[in-house]
């Protein structure tokens, strides 16, 4: 009877698990935050009094690190499909490490920006610099939520709750992590094109 209710009493919908659907909607709202910031950036830039400076080349390295972590999280997902839990943990922890490396990289790049007298705030700051800090900072905040999510799934894998028949959580973390990667790629390209 219980199984009946799950399968037969519902109108066929998207075929996506509701939790995954919730996650996707949250990704939409996260994207809207960045849509607001990037369009505000363009509007503000067109008004003039805009300090032009070169984007530190280091952003290319952090971008590559984050894209690599997308590959490792995908590896974890594939390993989970094959019930290879050892590889799942290894790949997830690798992803976590790369995510941390990305964040540390972003932090060091902030330091470089400050050395180049591009400030977030204060009398010498200009909105062009402040926007760069806000975009990277808010993205970094969301990346931290992704790191926490990764740790939760690692924990679940140790409790044998991640395997080929329980793909929901690892699938969700994979989707979310790819989303954060693509979001960063969008921001990076946006900054490259608008500098």
């Amino acid at each position: 009877m219980l199984a009946n209710e799950a399968l037969n009493t519902k109108e066929p919908a998207t075929g996506i698990h509701p939790t995954r659907f919730l996650l996707m909607l949250m990704m939409v709202s996260i994207f809207m935050i960045f849509a607001a910031y990037t369009s505000a950036y363009i509007v503000r830039r067109n008004e003039g009094n805009w300090l032009e400076f070169n984007l530190p080349p280091g952003f290319l390295y952090t971008t590559v690190v984050l894209l690599l972590s997308s590959a490792t999280v995908q590896w974890a997902w594939v390993a989970a499909r094959r019930d290879d839990l050892k590889q799942v943990r290894l790949a997830l922890l690798l992803t976590f490490g790369l995510g941390m490396a990305f964040l540390i990289g972003q932090w060091l790049l902030w330091g470089q920006l400050v050395e180049g007298r591009i400030f977030f705030a204060g009398t010498d700051s200009n909105p062009s610099g402040s926007f760069l800090y806000v975009l990277t900072g808010v993205h970094g905040f969301h990346l931290i939520t992704g790191l926490i999510f990764l740790l939760v799934v690692v924990w679940k894998s140790f409790k044998y709750q991640v395997h080929s028949r329980e793909m929901l959580s690892i699938g969700n973390v994979t989707i979310y992590w790819h989303f954060l990667g693509v979001l960063w790629l969008y921001l990076y390209l946006f900054l490259l094109l608008n500098h």
């Binding site: 799950a6 607001a36 009094n49 805009w50």
Partner: protein
């Protein structure tokens, strides 16, 4: 059978589609929940809905009290308000209301009414209560996130409420918090700690709205019962669904703007500030753009007014059809117009900014798009009127409020066409004409939708009926009161009287309106006091009202197939399947004047239309 399944324990508030639901055997052995689980940290959508409703009523009383206070000032500018000292303390100076506190009152009235009453109180209550009941689901997709949504709202409410009592006063830069006024504590004392608390509170409020909104959307898309296709959904659900989508897209943008404003205020950035001299001192900020804030704010702000009005539209459609005993006229056109309004709401925001010095060509584009909104709005109005036309109308309290909604929506909508024209708006901008317009079309209308919803669904919420006679008194007092308040405001506004002014007696042009303003103030305060009839009726009826039956209004939708007071899981047995649309009222040939959605065509052969014969 069920006992074989190991997952049985997970039933509570789990995930709908794969959640093993309650069946008979399990439901009986269901253990009693503690008081805290049942009424405070509940994951049951019905309890959360009541929490939102009662919080909303609390906020409405606060918001109404604030408006009565500033109406006292506007109606009797020469009077001494010494008698308010025990209540307002130092904000009464030598018998006069502090002018800065007057601005704070206006600001907090707007904030509370728009966000805490008409967004959280309206959507929060009825989306939560009706979505699972009307689509045939056990609960929301995530009961836990739904609970978080309420408690984020609660914390946000506590912070906003606390800000009313701090020494420098609450936020005072208007509910639109335009910088630089909202960014500089030197400019107005409310922009100090009060504005900080406002921003923190709103940030939490946005989190609450997003947690709620993603749940509503997921539930509507994924958890409909068998047969409940999107084209068989009651219009309430369509309205709540689209409202949630608007919130999902608009609220993050407000969050972005609020975050930038927080950086400007507390961290020394210059997103919105540039070249400001204040009290003879030059500020270091350069390069900011206050207009940018307005763009970001109104990108939320305009959809926000539809977030407020669309749930009311949905509920009114449902209540009008039920009590006119007629199918809603133009069901698909109603859905289409909701879709149209939702889409247009995102591309009209700059009509709030006609006087910011924008390119006149851009202004005319926004004017054109704004005026197009009249089309779906008129479709809705004509459909409501056509639904009433030659209906077998039952004047229940909910019906009166729904008809009142239509009346107010027309009265307020017409002036929207005036204000949407850039050339006219430049004259009328920031006058009482604007105040009258939005209070009718969005404020009062949405409130009428809220009341209609409460009177209509009260029996399902509490198992008792609200008192009809008190309801009539409440309706007529409010309906007449609202028109007496806002119709004269149009006149004052056309004469050029600006909004947010503490007093106008200093200007000869406006002193002739002293009597009219006194009249508006008396009407507003009487109408506000009339609301206590509703509050008494509400709380009295929870415990002492006449007992309700399962389906007191002879309605067709699914919530009326549940027990008088539905328990956790909504239906004691299987979830009913749906066979027909929700508006089979007075169908020719049918035995009764309503056919519930759960009745298959095979049982109604006498009333089936030719194309329905095939589905028998």
């Amino acid at each position: 059978m069920a006992a074989n399944f190991p997952t049985q324990k997970q039933v509570q508030g789990g995930i709908g589609a794969t959640e093993p639901g309650h069946d008979h055997a399990h439901h009986d052995e269901h253990h009693e929940q503690s008081f805290l689980q049942k009424y405070v940290f509940s994951t049951d959508h019905k309890v959360i809905a009541k929490q939102f409703l009662i919080s909303g009523i609390f906020w409405a009383v606060i918001g109404g009290t604030l408006s009565s206070l500033f109406r006292l000032q506007l109606g009797w500018p020469e009077a001494t308000l010494e008698w308010l000292t025990p209540f307002l303390g130092k904000w009464i100076e030598a018998g006069k209301l502090n002018p800065e506190f007057y601005l704070a009152l206006v600001t907090m009235h707007g904030t509370i009414m728009v966000f805490f009453v008409l967004t959280a109180g309206l959507s929060g209550t009825f989306s939560n209560f009706l979505i699972p009941l009307q689509i045939g689901a056990r609960d929301m997709a995530s009961g836990f996130m739904n609970m978080l949504s309420y408690w984020f709202f609660f914390v946000s409410s506590v912070i906003m409420f606390a800000s009313l009592f701090i020494e420098t006063g609450p936020a005072a830069a208007g509910w639109t918090i335009y910088p630089p006024l909202s960014a500089l504590p030197q400019a107005i004392s409310g922009s100090g700690a009060g504005q900080t608390l406002w921003l923190v509170s709103m940030a939490l409020f946005i989190v609450s709205q997003l947690l709620g909104g993603v749940n509503y959307i997921t539930t509507v898309i994924n958890l409909r019962t068998q047969g409940m296709s999107m084209s068989k959904l009651p219009l309430t659900i369509w309205a709540f669904f689209l409202t949630a989508i608007l919130g999902l897209l608009a609220f993050p943008v407000l969050f972005s703007a609020a975050l930038l404003l927080i950086f400007d205020r507390s961290f020394g950035t210059s997103f919105f500030l540039s070249d400001i001299y204040i009290a003879g001192q030059a500020l270091p900020n350069t390069g900011g753009s206050p207009i940018l804030f307005q763009h970001l704010f109104w990108f939320l702000g305009h959809p926000e007014v539809y977030i407020v009005i669309m749930p009311a539209m949905g509920m009114v459609s449902e209540i009008l059809a039920t009590n006119a005993r007629k199918p809603i006229f133009g069901y698909r056109a109603m859905i289409g117009s909701l879709l149209g309004i939702s889409l247009l709401s995102f591309i009209v925001w700059a009509h709030h900014m006609f006087v910011t010095g924008m390119n006149p060509f851009l202004g005319s584009v926004f004017m054109f798009l704004t005026l197009i909104i009249a089309v779906p709005s008129a479709v809705k109005v004509f459909n409501w009127l056509a639904t009433l036309w030659r209906g077998n109308i039952r004047f229940t309290t909910a019906m009166l409020f729904s008809i009142g909604f239509v009346s107010l929506f027309i009265a307020g909508g017409l002036t929207g066409i005036v204000l949407g024209n850039a050339a006219l708006d430049i004259q009328l901008h920031n006058t009482y004409f604007v105040v009258a317009h939005f209070h009718l079309v969005m404020g009062s209308s949405a409130f009428f939708g809220l009341w209609a919803g409460v009177y209509h669904w009260f029996p399902k919420m509490f198992g008792r009926m609200m008192d009809e006679k008190l309801g009539y008194i409440h309706f007529w007092l409010t309906f007449i009161g609202v028109y007496l308040v806002f119709l004269p405001m149009h006149y004052v506004g056309i004469a050029g009287f600006p909004r947010r002014y503490y007093a106008w007696t200093g200007f000869d042009t406006f002193s002739q309106f002293a009597d009219l303003n006194k009249f508006i103030s008396i009407a507003a305060i009487v109408a506000f006091i009339g609301q206590f009839i509703f509050i008494f009726n509400f709380f009295y009826s929870i415990w002492r009202g006449r007992r309700a039956t399962e389906n007191p209004w002879n309605s067709t939708t699914l919530e009326w197939t549940t027990p008088v007071v539905p328990g956790h899981g909504n239906w004691p047995g299987d979830i009913p399947a749906v066979h027909r649309w929700p508006y089979d009222y007075s169908k020719p040939g049918a035995e009764e004047d309503f056919i519930p959605q759960t009745v298959p065509y095979s049982q109604t052969q006498s009333s089936n239309l030719p194309y329905e014969k095939e589905m028998e």
